[in-house]
Symmetry: C2
Subunit: 509 residues, 2 copies
Amino acid sequence: MANPTTAITPTRSENYSEWYQQVVKAADLAENSAVRGCMVIKPWGYAIWENIQRVLDGMFKETGHRNAYFPLFIPVSFLEKEAAHVEGFAKECAVVTHHRLEVGPDGKLIPSGELDEPLVVRPTSETIIGATYAKWVQSYRDLPILINQWANVVRWEMRTRLFLRTTEFLWQEGHTAHATREEAVEETLKMLKVYAAFAEGWMAMPVIQGSKTDGERFPGAVDTYCIEAMMQDRRALQAGTSHFLGQNFAKASEIQFLDANGAQQFAWTTSWGVSTRLVGAMIMAHSDDDGLILPPKLAPAHVVIIPIAHKPEDLQAITDWTRALAADLRKQSFDGRPVQVELDARDMRGGDKAWSWIKKGVPVRVEVGPRDLAAESVFMARRDRPHKEKVAVKRGEFIAGIAALLQEIQDGLFARADAFRREHTKVIDDAKEFETFFTAPTVAENQPTPIHGGFALAHFCGDPKVEEEVKNRLGVTVRCIPIEDSNDPGKCIMTGAASKKRVIWAKAY
Amino acid sequence: MANPTTAITPTRSENYSEWYQQVVKAADLAENSAVRGCMVIKPWGYAIWENIQRVLDGMFKETGHRNAYFPLFIPVSFLEKEAAHVEGFAKECAVVTHHRLEVGPDGKLIPSGELDEPLVVRPTSETIIGATYAKWVQSYRDLPILINQWANVVRWEMRTRLFLRTTEFLWQEGHTAHATREEAVEETLKMLKVYAAFAEGWMAMPVIQGSKTDGERFPGAVDTYCIEAMMQDRRALQAGTSHFLGQNFAKASEIQFLDANGAQQFAWTTSWGVSTRLVGAMIMAHSDDDGLILPPKLAPAHVVIIPIAHKPEDLQAITDWTRALAADLRKQSFDGRPVQVELDARDMRGGDKAWSWIKKGVPVRVEVGPRDLAAESVFMARRDRPHKEKVAVKRGEFIAGIAALLQEIQDGLFARADAFRREHTKVIDDAKEFETFFTAPTVAENQPTPIHGGFALAHFCGDPKVEEEVKNRLGVTVRCIPIEDSNDPGKCIMTGAASKKRVIWAKAY
């Protein structure tokens, strides 16, 4: 059911999943490649990732971490060292078995030079980094090790979706080693808070910080913490994880040290990561039926200037004027860097230009025609408002107010996402109501497609079998056990057994 | 033959190759990993690479390029499309043949889930990017495409050396497509000039810009241009390449467009890259027998402050004073960013601290003891001068002059490398002299190990067979045909045939 009044077909309410694919396409963010499950991240999508990297990298360094780089390949014998870990990753990894190609009998190239031991393309780097830390750590004086790596990883996913789940993806993985359990737990939670601060402060996406149940824990971790966000289809998306690994990987990799008393100890390690999945989360959290909406703090361009010259004789004056406007805007600062301006001088109709930038999510658009020059003003539109809403603003006012405007848009996106999540989060104390919440069609205005539930805050006894049963019956899982103290003990709505606090149940990406 | 008066054993003159390995180790830059030929880049080494990335990335963007990301894997059938290309890379590539591991009969994990078509881990991305561009390009309006990628690549090298030649390495690869031959040639040369400007302006390493002979060309290129630098053992190191690919890859990948006249044309493409090899080049160009010497513009730290408190009661005052000094230095700016300061508060002897930073190559060291506090001065040493040379400088003067001092050190390193290259570059017009240049031991003062030759500027007819013969006999190759017009036609010193200009012959890394 096409909707001619929106730039994206179908709309969110018509087919959310297909809407997402079309937003990615219309904004020119990424596309599938010829290699199964691997995406091409196009310049506009990659520029968003560069902004994510820049901000997070600064936050990691502020918290005492340094970057390093470890091998892409992991010997199979390394993976095998940690039982839960290999169990979790062996089923979906790219295996390198040969180191050259030679011409086969039919003239085609075939693998040759078989390796003594196959190598796995890293799905995550705990084992190869653990083996390295084991060499670096001798004494408690060598600890802590606080290192991050920006890298590509490969997990052989069967069903892939651009940004959300791809065979190869880009991420950062922090890997730290500590002398005590307390220090490692503190690090795990510190980085969880960094992720939450980034999601809320830069992505404008409210998140719940919590820990995972047994079934959803990282393979090999003692505790997995996560940040969970609600998308516009009310599903949960895990946007970052921070793992307290206890001594599991230290024992597997033999990361040992002499403590201050001369006793041999195993180190305590952590790992934490976010990936290009964040781009998918950002898209789904804010965008509308006209395409991408970018939070200004992560937008590759804050303002696009569209010169509108109907007559050739106006062109030079408009070009000069808009160039000067761009230069003056770039002297303004937003979120610690110069305001980013695109001047769209393409030989194309003004309306087509405007739509291309609407679909790309640029926070502020200004059109400049001959009358605007005369009036020393611009015709301005905000991406967070309906596309027809345009206002004339005096040039000087616009320039002086650009940083405040961008912050207002940033705050508005957060407030909107926060209100949406509150609206679709429900405290539930009854199994029947729980089932209804996740199965009854909730038909809102302009939303013909039934969308179920949202986040259910319900008491849970923690029994993995119960969680499994709910998952199979309703497609709903425990997204996390929120960290904030609810001081609200109660009874599991499934079993009636004691529950320390409410957990978040939801359908998930 | 150990030399107790230097921090690095052996010295350059004793064993240059081993000296290099020891400098890398002493500066804590990188180490070999458990995976054959793959290195671990440690934080100090990676921070240098981050600086290289930051500067080059800015230069690429200044010249109109944007970053994107393409798949790690290349189907074997893609490699096969360009005959010279597959010939060049098939012999040394990591081949992925399976997508999971399963427990084999002996309880060990074995590859499982064989792929229909094997995948190669990218040794370079012309073919996978070409296949993508073919989809993007329809009309001349879609051109040019100016894209760069920061990525890891894998070439199964048999003999590896940290930074200089590793199985996996980090690099950037620019890939552009153009409507005309002229535009593509212009792009190729523009990026060569960017590399030369970076090598000379940031790495403080003079380079010769030139083109490669047939034998040294990139597999599939029409012309390969390069920058060549002289290391301190007088060998040449290729520090960056820029390839004019003609229509070879456009034809292989079917990158076609309708030109302004409605005729179907193949695009003209280029590719250009530099890698973590630059870190190796930088080490070998400047470092001495006390370890690494960093050009200030790429140094992770410009100044290290070493508090010297012999008595515990002095500690607090010195700590406060050095912290304030660090803060004031950070307010100064060098090469467009704040001066980077390390305050070494480790519980360790001052001498040991100083030596650790000498070996790490930090351009300026200051020691601060109780007497310096009283005199409001610091005790300063420069890494480009002998380590015993220290001078007292007034605090205010030191802060005010830090940017100029760093620039002076930067310029001095360039001048030193430039003088060295001039000293060891010889115009040769005679085959016998040529042979002597590359075989006779040249014993300089304090250089007991014979070091041969350097760069020979000699006329060459261009015959690949002659080049091959010289390579086999003397281990010497044509590093490049310099771009600068020499206006100096002559006769090949090997064959007497006509030669348009002199070429650079040298032993090479």
